[in-house]
């Protein structure tokens, strides 16, 4: 008989490891809660899942799916850390890297960046694809926050934070396909013309170097930045924050 999803002992298997979950959890949430890392970029434990970056793709009973949006069900056989899936993840990261202008040596977020850390963890050695070198302007209008759109990976975390937590709707997406981009919801399009504050949730959650606090860059020296110390897949304690916790001030 198939074990019920409601039973406290419901489990699914990820890479051959039995992992228990509670009803309503996604496969990604169940994995992270059990200390099993699945790469992800657009998932944030405090917001509804987005399913857009596809880095958390796993196979569920043999079929590929985003583990952040797939419900955990008893008896599922999930594969995540396989050479084939990690190859695809590397390709996704390479596409993200060539689509924007990710010039790590000059980026304030370097060493603390989820995109970079994930690329390190998965061993991305080259961009593989031709660089697009898109022309994107920065928005330095706000007194406390700088927006560098060159590094946007369209994870939508700031959009969700501004909507779900700050209730301000400062950010949105515009355009489709390769022209899709992050915009600021003000008539002028400038951040200074919104009610955005540096204390907003949306100001704290950018996984890459788009939303930056002015005069706060390069505070930790190389060697002691977050991902200098330990690779991202060994920082489970900071990644698997409980769902619903909204008071955290630092990056995801």
């Amino acid at each position: 008989m198939k074990p019920s999803d409601n039973s406290p002992s419901a489990t699914l298997s990820i890479d051959g490891e039995e992992i228990s979950f509670t009803k309503g959890q996604s496969i990604l949430q169940a994995a992270l809660a059990a200390g099993k890392y699945i790469p992800h970029l657009c998932y944030h434990p405090e917001f509804r899942p987005n399913g857009s970056c596809k880095l958390c793709t796993v196979t569920i009973n043999g079929r590929p799916g985003a583990s952040c949006t797939a419900q955990a069900e008893a008896g599922q056989t999930v594969e995540s850390d396989t050479p084939e899936i990690n190859d695809k993840r590397r390709t996704l990261l390479q596409m993200l890297l060539v689509e924007g202008n990710h010039f790590c040596p000059s980026c304030e977020k370097s060493g603390n960046c989820m995109l970079q850390a994930l690329a390190y963890a998965l061993g991305v050695m080259s961009p593989h694809f031709p660089q697009i070198f898109p022309v994107r302007l920065v928005d330095a209008s706000h007194p406390e926050i700088l927006l560098d759109f060159n590094r946007c990976i369209l994870c939508e975390i700031c959009v969700r934070a501004s909507d779900e937590v700050d209730h301000k709707n400062v950010f949105a997406f515009s355009g489709r396909g390769i022209t899709k981009h992050l915009i600021v919801n003000s008539e002028s399009g400038r951040l200074a013309d919104t009610d955005f504050l540096s204390t907003d949730k949306a100001a704290q959650v950018c996984p890459v170097g788009v939303i930056l606090r002015k005069r706060k860059g390069f505070t930790s020296p190389i060697g002691s930045r977050r991902f200098d110390v330990k690779p991202i897949n060994e920082q489970m304690e900071r990644i698997a924050e409980p769902v619903g916790k909204t008071s955290g001030g630092s990056s995801p």
Binding site: C104, G111, S126, Q131
Partner: protein, 180 residues
């Protein structure tokens, strides 16, 4: 080892920082010289590249001469390695890709402040012509291995070279693989 591995290196649109980091392997250079012999390289000052086992390229491609040198390396080297941010994704020189080349030259030589009288865009036939955009080298020739970093630390270069010379697939672990 009976025959030494022939190695050529060059810096295209780079700052020689990767070469400096390579020199930071310090006394391990002597160990390396037991195994390799340098052909064209800033270390030997040999100007053209002969047949080599390994070519190491620092810097991206920003002008016509870079293209010629890169093709010469590809033609002569069995294995070609892109070293550093500039070779891999254009790096700092590629920051000019945001702008039109003509506008940049105009601003630098005609309209910016503090120019000497009669300042003009250099047009000496000896100067290689700049390309409209700066490109990573894998967009011009096939590259076999990539060694990221700005620059890669000496230990990463050492790990990479010793792996490669020993016939292993080069693998950089945590702390050795970084993009900055």
């Amino acid at each position: 080892m009976s025959k030494k591995i022939k190695v050529a290196t060059t810096s295209l649109a780079g700052c020689f920082g990767c070469h400096m980091s390579f020199l930071d392997i310090d006394e391990r250079l002597l160990e390396l010289l037991e195994l390799v012999e340098f052909d064209r390289s800033p270390l030997t000052d040999i100007k053209t590249c002969g047949p080599c086992d390994l070519g190491i390229i620092e810097g991206g491609v920003c002008n016509a001469e870079n293209v010629h040198v890169l093709r010469e390396f590809r033609k002569n080297c069995k294995i070609l390695v892109a070293i550093g941010a500039c070779a891999i994704n254009g790096g700092l020189p590629a920051q000019r890709n945001q702008f039109d080349l003509r506008d940049i030259l105009e601003e630098v030589y005609h309209t910016s402040v503090g120019l000497t009288q009669g300042s003009d865009i250099p047009n000496d036939p000896e100067l290689p012509l700049p390309l409209n955009k700066v490109h990573p080298i894998h967009e011009v020739v096939k590259i076999d291995y990539f060694l990221p970093g700005c620059p890669p630390p000496a230990d990463a270069i050492w790990k990479f070279l010793t792996d490669l010379i020993a016939g292993r697939t080069p693998k950089l672990g945590h702390g050795l693989l970084h993009y900055d």
